[in-house]
Symmetry: C2
Subunit: 244 residues, 2 copies
Amino acid sequence: MAFSDVSTPDVGALFERVPKATLRAHVVERLRGAILAGDIPPGAPLVETSLSERFEVSRGPLREALRQLIEEGLVVTVPYTGTRVAELSVEDVHEIYSLRTVLETFAFEQVWPRRDDRFRAELRRRNEALIASIDAGDDRASILNELEFHGLVYEVSGHRLLQRAWNGLRGRLQLYWAAHHRAHGRRGPKRDSHDSYIKAAFGADLEAMRREIADHMRRGVETTERFLRTMPTSSGKPKRGDNS
Amino acid sequence: MAFSDVSTPDVGALFERVPKATLRAHVVERLRGAILAGDIPPGAPLVETSLSERFEVSRGPLREALRQLIEEGLVVTVPYTGTRVAELSVEDVHEIYSLRTVLETFAFEQVWPRRDDRFRAELRRRNEALIASIDAGDDRASILNELEFHGLVYEVSGHRLLQRAWNGLRGRLQLYWAAHHRAHGRRGPKRDSHDSYIKAAFGADLEAMRREIADHMRRGVETTERFLRTMPTSSGKPKRGDNS
DNA sequence: CTGTGCCAGATTGTCAACAATCGACCATCA
DNA sequence: TGATGGTCGATTGTTGACAATCTGGCACAG
């Protein structure tokens, strides 16, 4: 999955410590998947006891899983009262995309001087995978592929805190994209947008790349914002105890 | 504490919901304080059972507190084996300061067009508080004041995700500064550095402010890196079960 | 002397019961 | 009718005991 594994099979990796998966990690994956798939829509209550029997775990690991999803921005909680899936808002969209612009630009600045051919090749490969999934009409794969595409530059940067910051945005972004694709079916033709992105990434002009990133994000925030405005408020607040 | 409270006493705030403090939150504060004060030095093991009796809590809340400190970068853990205070490294210093440069520049760009006089006044106030604590030789207060000083622009930006990113850096920064000040006593004369920072912040030239931030961070990373190199490796890894 | 397998202690992971708190509902009264 | 106070169910917070896993050292064979 990591960039270095893509092009250079590392024999040493075969002997890597494979830590036994904890229940918490498992619950995080499943719960995150359920939220991003829309099985549990934004605003829906997340009751610890219900979830613990749904996932067949006790409340201990479940609580820790919820805390992690709170960190990722997928879940919000208020002490002694309740926990629910995060709601969507236009303010968040602006924050996500503006910060993303800054981070992705910085990531490219880190990678740029290296003239890394493997990076570029892998970027093209991921772009083709993305195009393929779009053409196939597979929305779920398209979202994942788009995240993989944009994630590459963070991986290659080797900047762990930067990767961490990207991870903090990734889940939030996915939440919006997933809601969008559920509401509107396949997402518009992104092909052109990615073509120019790729072209700039392969060029020699860093300033042009900066502009390209800014434009790319501008288009993203417009699309997402327009979508959000069509569903005025995601729902009348569900009261305590409903489990739609 | 929030910026808006500084200049405009808000009567409504008196009636604000004051959430009952949970044990977890309390433990987080105390444990973080102990780490940042150096009571528990980098690399020292954090055994859940010991800590739970030290803080007179059960392991449940304590574990959740540890998870939060992991998020903040103050603690590292490996499943089924152990948890310890994060070690210091020069790579981390570079990452912290480079990301900080990007974020703080972005924060200033957000605030800049507003020509916010209250922001500038508060910035000056916090700078004077910082100078005062430096002159008084109070290292602990100086660190806190420096964080408050730089934190202002994030608060004023109103950008929650940006504030969140800053919070992710804040603890890590504090860890290094605290170690530095324990090793070397009072930190060098930062007065000049802050004078030019303030001057640029009050000027009209955003580009000059960008340069000032970059320079400021460059000085910071140099100082911290030089300090780290004097303590080659913070210690031979303490073995399992030692509790220094 | 070197490597290998096993054992014991230490540490984290998990569970199920209990306590504290909150929010909605309803009866009551001005 | 509108406000007010109490009560009850629902939900999260906390606890102590138990299970799973890892690490380091030691005996033993080569």
